[in-house]
């Protein structure tokens, strides 16, 4: 292995570098000047994100444990973008009195998980996958418990770490059986030997539950709402988009590589699960008042929709999954960005009731929120419409018309609750609406990126074409 080969791991290496730089800064900076780390982190992260787009050869490392292609790089870039937006949005929050001494922790933990996710996405075998997964999960538990003074935050942390430990245990049990029945942990080799004996089906299901936990599919989703609600807004937003997106990426890759030859099995499994996920997610979302909790359930049902692209298993399917995750990152971060801005400005107002009459006092934030809601609901002209439409196309191409019908009916329920927020902000009149406040520049920048993303990603067809050209399927 030559030294140049390490260039294939550019994303991971750069992120590690940033992590080190921030660590060094944390050590050497005086306590009063720790706030500078925020700017450093954001600038460096921007550089990393931009650098990620430079062209790079494809190839494998470590005897196939690590693989990279343009698609992998694209996925990582998408994750980087998501993380960058979270960085930007977190800046204001970290400047609050309570978090001043924890600035670097936030960025470092995120960077660690991001490295983990990058490894996970690039993994070529189950070992690397597992490592990446754990690296992406354990720090998040710490982040969920970030707010030391809050009951809810530590409750979120413990719920996440316990659930994830259980789920990774079960998943490992499945992986061990994969290994036992095939003698390999490399995706390529596994796929050749995976014929679908009962034990292999069992192994697959156990592996699947691990992924289902990460993506929060029903019935493996129950941790999601509590963790999202308990964790600080910025952590939740990261958890809901980047972490979930990474899991979806690797999930669809593993399905079409390692489990290529039992596709009818997993298609059926996901059929059932996606219907459950969409429906249950929607049904729970209807009744929520806390916005974070609400967005948690919304993200569950969104996952159900994304699974449609996964089921298809085709090139188009994978392209739509990647595309939708991109769209979803902008939309959901847009929503969370507003929630965070409000929460920071008002000292933790996160309930839908608090947003009544919001448009009167803060029209721009309200409009951003509305756009995000529309994008999540799949309403043109924002990108969510295109994303959902393409997902539906992908699943219909394989002839799943009934699944498609159930899905579109579910979009109606989801539209209902997204409109509830719009209703609160725009329709209902209120005497004690949240007062007018000014957001700082970072918040604005973060939201501007989200809006631009929601608008541009939809209309600019080259983006989808590019993704499609890189994707692969069964």
């Amino acid at each position: 292995m030559r030294i140049e080969d390490f260039l294939l791991m550019r994303h991971e290496i750069l992120l590690t570098l940033v992590t080190v730089i921030l660590l060094v800064l944390e050590i050497f900076l005086h306590d009063d000047r720790k706030q500078v780390i925020r700017h450093w982190a954001i600038v460096l992260m921007t550089l990393v994100t931009v650098a990620g787009f430079l062209s790079l050869p494809e190839g494998t490392l470590f005897g196939g444990m690590y693989q990279t292609s343009q698609l992998h790089q694209l996925m990582k870039n998408i994750l980087n973008i998501g993380a960058l937006v979270v960085f930007i949005q977190g800046a204001k929050w970290l400047n609050l009195e309570a978090n001043r001494n924890k600035v670097s922790e936030f960025y470092l933990l995120i960077l660690c998980t991001l490295i983990g996710m990058n490894f996970m996405v690039s993994s070529g075998d189950f070992l690397m996958f597992y490592l990446g997964l754990e690296l992406a999960t354990i720090p998040i538990a710490a982040m969920a418990a970030f707010d030391k003074l809050s009951n809810k935050s530590s409750e979120a942390g413990i719920k996440l770490i316990l659930s994830s430990a259980l789920s990774s245990g079960i998943m490992l049990y499945g992986i061990s059986m994969v290994y036992g029945t095939t003698g390999s942990i490399y995706f390529e080799q596994v796929s050749q030997l995976y014929a679908g004996s009962s034990l292999q089906v069992l192994a697959f299901i156990f592996f699947f539950t691990g992924m289902a936990f990460k993506i929060s599919m029903v019935p493996f989703h129950l941790w999601t709402a509590d963790v999202y609600e308990g964790a600080p807004v910025n952590v939740t937003s990261y958890l809901s988009v980047v972490s979930k997106g990474a899991a979806l990426f690797i999930f669809s890759i593993i399905l079409v590589t390692a489990f290529r030859f039992i596709s009818p099995l997993w298609q059926n499994v996901i059929w059932v699960i996606s219907v459950l996920t969409m429906t249950i997610g929607n049904l729970f979302a209807i009744r929520q008042n806390n916005l974070k909790r609400f967005l948690a359930f919304s993200s569950i049902s969104q996952a159900g929709f994304i699974l449609l692209g996964v089921i298809a298993g085709t090139q188009l399917g994978m392209a739509t999954v990647v595309y939708y995750v991109l769209v979803y990152i902008f939309s959901n971060l847009g929503a969370f960005g507003v929630v965070a801005a409000v929460s920071n400005a008002t000292g933790g107002k996160e309930n839908m009731d608090d947003y009544v009459g919001f448009y009167r006092t803060n029209p721009k934030l309200a409009l951003t929120m509305m756009l995000a809601m529309f994008s999540l609901a799949g309403i043109p002209p924002v990108a969510g419409f295109f994303g959902k439409f393409f997902l539906f196309l992908a699943v219909a191409e394989q002839g799943y018309y009934w699944l498609l019908t159930i899905a579109v009916l579910n979009t109606i329920i989801s539209l209902y609750y997204y409109l509830l927020i719009v209703k609160a902000m725009f329709l209902t009149k209120s005497e004690d609406a949240i007062g007018r406040f000014r957001s700082d520049n970072y918040t604005r920048l973060g939201l501007a990126i989200c809006i631009a993303g929601m608008v541009i990603v939809g209309f600019a067809s080259p983006i989808f074409d590019y993704i499609k050209s890189l994707s692969f399927g069964l």
Binding site: L316, A319, F374, I379, P380, P381, F385, F389, F390, F392, L393, A396, E397, Y401, L404, T405, V408, L409, T411, I412, L415, Y416, L419, V422, K423, F426, L427, T428, S461, F464, D465, K468, S469
Partner: protein, 502 residues
């Protein structure tokens, strides 16, 4: 840039103008000027279209332009119009133009109101000029969703409930529609070429009949909900009654036509076999719609409810005629769309203006308005007469074409359906005259009514243009009828082919 795309660009620029305008007055005039340009454009379109046809251009769609949008999926932005779309575009420009003037005095969040309203209109224009199902669907949703805000923010009564109900039901329709469209897409290339959303292309292929049985109801019901297909019409009374004036106008006048247009353009044109085999189910429903809506209107007390139910009846007639599936009936259906569009816009405009003066819409609480606001009252009578199908107004032309067309279908079932539908003209007369009698005639009910001012200049513009529209079509219907008939060739060929096979 091609000619047709201006129909999208102009309103979008207007929206932009409204957003950047400094005060309400600027916004108002921006909207008015923008929509005047749009109206002029529509007139130019009509003349250019007729001229092209006269010059012997027999292409199915004129001013056709095709831009590739998503190469990966062969999704295109294609525009093109035939006589039917031209009629619809003209209708839309008229209604939105008058709608602007009818809402000249919206006091509250003025700019937002006009921006949203025109955004909605953009969706409608886009829907009518596009020939690609994807873009059509995009514009369709763009046209439906602003409704939520428009009703929810500027509406009256139980507006939040109505807005939500309307939006959810219509989006439910669009959801079914989505399934239909996607199904069509994947059957657009039976011999292995790239799939396409362009309905002109799809119309040239044969979709497997079993698939049609699945897709046709999806598409038809999907569009049908917007066309107030019984029993999925209940969004209409609530929605209309809560909506502000211009929104009711645009919604009943134009948006409901999207339903009829879609049923025709997509469901029937692309899946004629299924349309032929399944039409009886929907024919029963629409026949019920026609009579049921009319009976429903008789007992209502709220002016807008009356009109909403009457719209159910009239739009039911549109679908009814479409399902009769012969040239005359379909021609009648399209004319009914245009006619009902203008007429009902006029109604809602007037109701808004009356409401603005009396502050109630309950007819029993008003009376004798003819004495105090003669202009509006006379206009209301005209709208009523047009609605009940008086010759000289567009309603008559359309209804008669529908009835004559329906009668061309032999068979007891069709005949009975036609007779029942015809009966609606009597019931319509009952409820229209009831309203006129209570609302406008009789002694002036409240002494303070005498302080009313009659229509202001902008109200006169709004009402005048609409009346000119219905009377114009009513007195000289031939050009419209010919314009539509000339465009029915392709679908008739397809339908006739089936009846030949059967």
């Amino acid at each position: 840039m091609d000619f047709l795309s201006y129909f999208i660009i102009v309103p979008l620029l207007t929206v932009l103008g409204i957003i950047v305008s400094r005060n309400d007055k600027q916004a108002k005039w921006t909207a008015a000027i923008g929509m005047s340009i749009q109206l002029v454009l529509a007139a130019v379109l009509v003349f250019r279209y007729l001229a092209e046809r006269k010059a012997g251009n027999m292409a199915e769609f004129l001013f056709y332009h095709d831009y590739l949008w998503f190469p990966a999926l062969n999704i295109r932005y294609t525009v093109g119009v035939d006589g039917i779309s031209v009629a619809m575009v003209a209708l839309t420009s008229l209604v939105i133009f008058t709608g602007i003037f009818a809402s000249w005095e919206v006091k509250f969040q003025f700019r937002e109101f006009f921006a949203t309203l025109i955004l909605l209109a953009t969706g409608v224009f886009g829907f009518f000029i596009c020939t690609d199902l994807f873009t059509m669907f995009l514009f369709y949703e763009l046209a439906v969703l602003p409704m939520y805000l428009l009703i929810g923010i500027w509406g009256s009564g139980p507006k939040e409930y109505s807005a939500m109900k309307l939006t959810l039901m219509l989006m439910g329709g669009s959801a079914l529609l989505l399934v239909g469209l996607i199904g069509l897409y994947f059957h657009s290339a039976p011999d292995g070429g790239p799939y396409t959303f362009n309905f002109i292309e799809i119309s040239k292929v044969q979709i497997p009949i079993q698939m049609q049985y699945f897709l046709f109801p999806m598409t038809f019901v999907g569009f049908g909900i917007l066309g107030a297909l019984f029993p999925l019409h209940t969004w209409s009374p609530d929605g209309h009654s809560s909506a502000p004036t211009a929104v009711s106008m645009l919604h009943a006048g134009v948006l409901m036509k999207l339903g009829g247009y879609g049923c025709f353009r997509v469901a029937m044109f692309l899946m004629p076999e299924a349309a032929h085999d399944l039409s009886w189910i929907f024919l029963i429903l629409t026949t019920i719609s026609v009579v049921y809506g009319a009976f429903g209107a008789i007992m209502q007390k709220d002016l807008k409810y009356i009109n909403a139910y009457s719209s159910v009846s009239h739009c039911g007639l549109v679908l009814f005629a479409l399902l009769m599936m012969n040239e005359t009936a379909i021609n009648g259906a399209i004319m009914q769309m245009v006619s009902h569009g203008i007429m009902t816009a006029l109604f809602f405009a007037l109701i808004g203006m009356i409401y603005g003066r009396t502050h109630t819409r309950i007819i029993d609480e008003m009376g004798g308005l003819m004495r105090v606001i003669p202009f509006l009252a006379v206009a209301y009578v005209i709208a009523g007469l047009a609605s009940l199908g008086l010759p000289g107004f567009s309603g008559f032309v359309a209804e008669m074409t529908v009835f004559v067309g329906s009668w061309q279908n032999t068979g007891t079932f069709y005949r009975v359906a036609t007779v029942i539908a015809c009966a609606s003209i009597v019931i319509t007369a009952v409820y229209i005259l009831r309203v006129v009698g209570i609302l406008l005639q009789g002694p002036v009910r409240e002494p303070w009514y005498h302080q009313f001012t009659d229509a202001t200049w902008y109200e006169r513009i709004s009402v005048g243009f609409l009346i000119a529209g219905i009377a114009g079509i009513g007195i000289a219907p031939l050009w419209l009828s010919n314009m539509i008939t000339n465009s029915l060739g392709p679908i008739m060929d397809r339908l006739n082919m089936i009846s030949f096979i059967h």
